[in-house]
Amino acid sequence: MSTQTLRRVRRRENWPWLALGLVAITALIIPLLAGEQVADFAAALQPPSTEHPAGTDHSGYDLLVRTAEGLRVSLLIAVICALVATVLGLAIGLAAALAGGWVDAVVMRVVDGFNALPHLVVGIVIAAMWRGAPLAIIASIALTHWPAVARVVRAELLAVADAGWIETARLAGASRWFVAHHHLIPAVTGQAMTAMVVLLPHAVWHESTLSFLGVGLSPDRASLGTLLSEARGDILTGAWWTLAVPAVTLVITALTVAAAGTAVRNRHRPPTGRVW
């Protein structure tokens, strides 16, 4: 492959990050520019106009600002969820691979057990028991998604440990610390990073679904899910924009996050087998 094609490949790989950055910046800037918002019931459910480019919702809030605020909340929760799940999975996967023996066997059975739970059902149960608490939503998503990370991290660590170059390095006089620093840690961080980015769209999906179903964030805290939940009643009166604006935002966000995940995964392809 020539350098030129390599560069082209690299540039094509970067667009998801640019798009994601653009989405995040928009979500940050629009509420800042709009300033303090007040509910104005006289201006409720107005179709898109020059004053309100995306119309207003049924409390009279500007829908574009509400959507940007909702996107901010959704992205923040998704990032925290992915972070917590990755750290949890990383710790448990590392522990299983390093301890080996019966500890490894027991931990992997526990991982299988957690995997057997239907994720959304667990999410609904936990989120409903601590209604409206962002912590419960984060916990419910992180608790159902760490097993995938633990499995990948463990498989990667075992694959690297089995590879000949570790033995070669040790025979050549490298210290354990050197081997860990140069071979084990890079392999595991690559996998963990990949796992985290791949988790992001799941987290967005779960949070919006829980909020939509009415067991997630409370309706006064705008997230994309709560906005869509409100739109459920409003579309019956013909207010199509209350559905279209948050839905399109959610789809664009999910697609760019998913594309970023694919880009990262292609860069750090696991060496053996299909672990995902």
């Binding site: 028991m129 579309i235 959610l250 299909r274």
Partner: protein, 350 residues
């Protein structure tokens, strides 16, 4: 290592040896043994899940009595509340409540649902047919469409249809089912007035076959669309894997192409194993059904799961959650058993 790796078919086609009849029967026996082992594992796992549910509920800050009384709670005096508390024994530790629930469940008594004002068993038997019909119809449609399109996409790599299918799948894998459902409601029900938006019968009317089918069309489309992307991409990937194999190249050199090539040389090794994986996707089907049934007010079990969780109707929630966990375990066990029975190259340790 994990099940995933043992499930991935070995890339080389089986060597052409003479196969003894006893070896031909072995996959079925292996599948039966796998099912037996999985059943032995699944039973305690389901019990542990139910215990986990009760433990989580005991940690939650909600007051079961307040949940039971609903808005009546604020009108009850303190002494009435204490009396109710004593009568329903809500202060007992979670393991005693769990043990009682298990004992009742063994006798077919799952408690009384406060949101539905019916015994839980009645709720389940009344709603089960609606969920099974909707989910079954969506699953079958999704499987037929996804496999057909996936095969064509895999055989015609780079073609217009392949790019359309892949684009559609990537797009709808990212869109939550409730967005699709709401869009359908907005366009078809509210905009065009073609089909009803909610329920399974006109308000106040009895359930009729025609009415249920008419009300079921939109939820069926929404659920089917949510199931297709994964299945289509998996089928396409499996077909692609075999299109370049030596066996297929050999068949091509003998002049085979198109349908004959697909049916004789590609489908048996790619489509059947993919279909066998369907059971492992039961969690997605349950999630999709929960969302779609909620949006469309479909009188099934999955929709009432959300309702019971939101209203903290614990007896109903417990039955549905434990049932969902058991269904998922059964689905993945059946799936793996089917894979072992279909494909003699897959060896699997429980």
């Amino acid at each position: 290592m994990s099940h995933l790796e043992t499930l991935t078919p070995t890339p080389s086609p089986p060597a052409a040896e003479t196969i003894r009849p006893s070896e031909l029967r072995r996959p079925l026996r292996a599948a039966a043994r796998l099912l037996a082992v999985r059943t032995v594992i699944a039973a305690p796992l389901t019990v542990v899940t139910s215990a986990g549910l009760f433990a989580v509920a005991s940690l939650s800050p909600f007051d079961p009595l307040a949940a039971y009384l609903g808005s009546g709670y604020q009108f009850a005096t303190q002494s009435q509340r204490d009396a109710m508390r004593a009568a329903y024994d809500t202060d007992q530790p979670w393991h005693r409540a769990w043990w009682q629930w298990i004992g009742g469940a063994l006798h077919g008594d799952l408690g009384f649902s406060s949101t539905q004002s019916q015994p839980v068993t009645t709720v389940l038997t009344e709603r089960m047919p609606f969920t099974l019909a909707l989910s079954g119809a969506a699953l079958v449609t999704a499987a037929v469409l996804a496999v057909a399109l996936g095969c064509v996409a895999g055989m015609r790599r780079g073609g217009v249809l392949e790019r359309l299918c892949t684009g559609f799948s990537v797009m709808f894998a990212a869109v939550p089912p409730f967005v699709v459902s709401l869009a359908l409601v907005m366009v078809v029900a509210v905009g065009l007035h073609w089909l009803p938006a909610s329920g399974a019968a006109a308000p106040g009317a009895d359930y009729t076959v025609a009415g249920v089918v008419r009300h079921g069309i939109l939820p069926w489309i929404a659920l089917t669309v949510s199931m297709i992307p994964w299945l289509l991409l998996t089928t396409r990937a499996a077909v692609l894997e075999w299109v370049d194999s030596d066996a297929v190249r050999g068949a091509r050199s003998r002049g085979l192409y198109g349908w004959a090539l697909l049916r004789g040389h590609i489908a048996p090794v790619s489509v059947l194993p993919t279909l066998a994986l369907l059971g492992t996707r039961l969690p997605e089907l349950i999630a999709g059904a929960a969302i779609v049934e909620t949006v469309f007010g479909w009188p099934g079990m999955a929709g009432v799961l959300v309702e019971s969780a939101a209203a903290l109707d614990f007896p109903l929630l417990a039955a549905l959650t434990v049932g969902a966990a058991a269904a998922v375990l059964a689905g993945s066990a059946l799936s793996d058993a089917a894979a072992v029975a279909i494909d003699p190259r897959i060896g699997m340790s429980a």
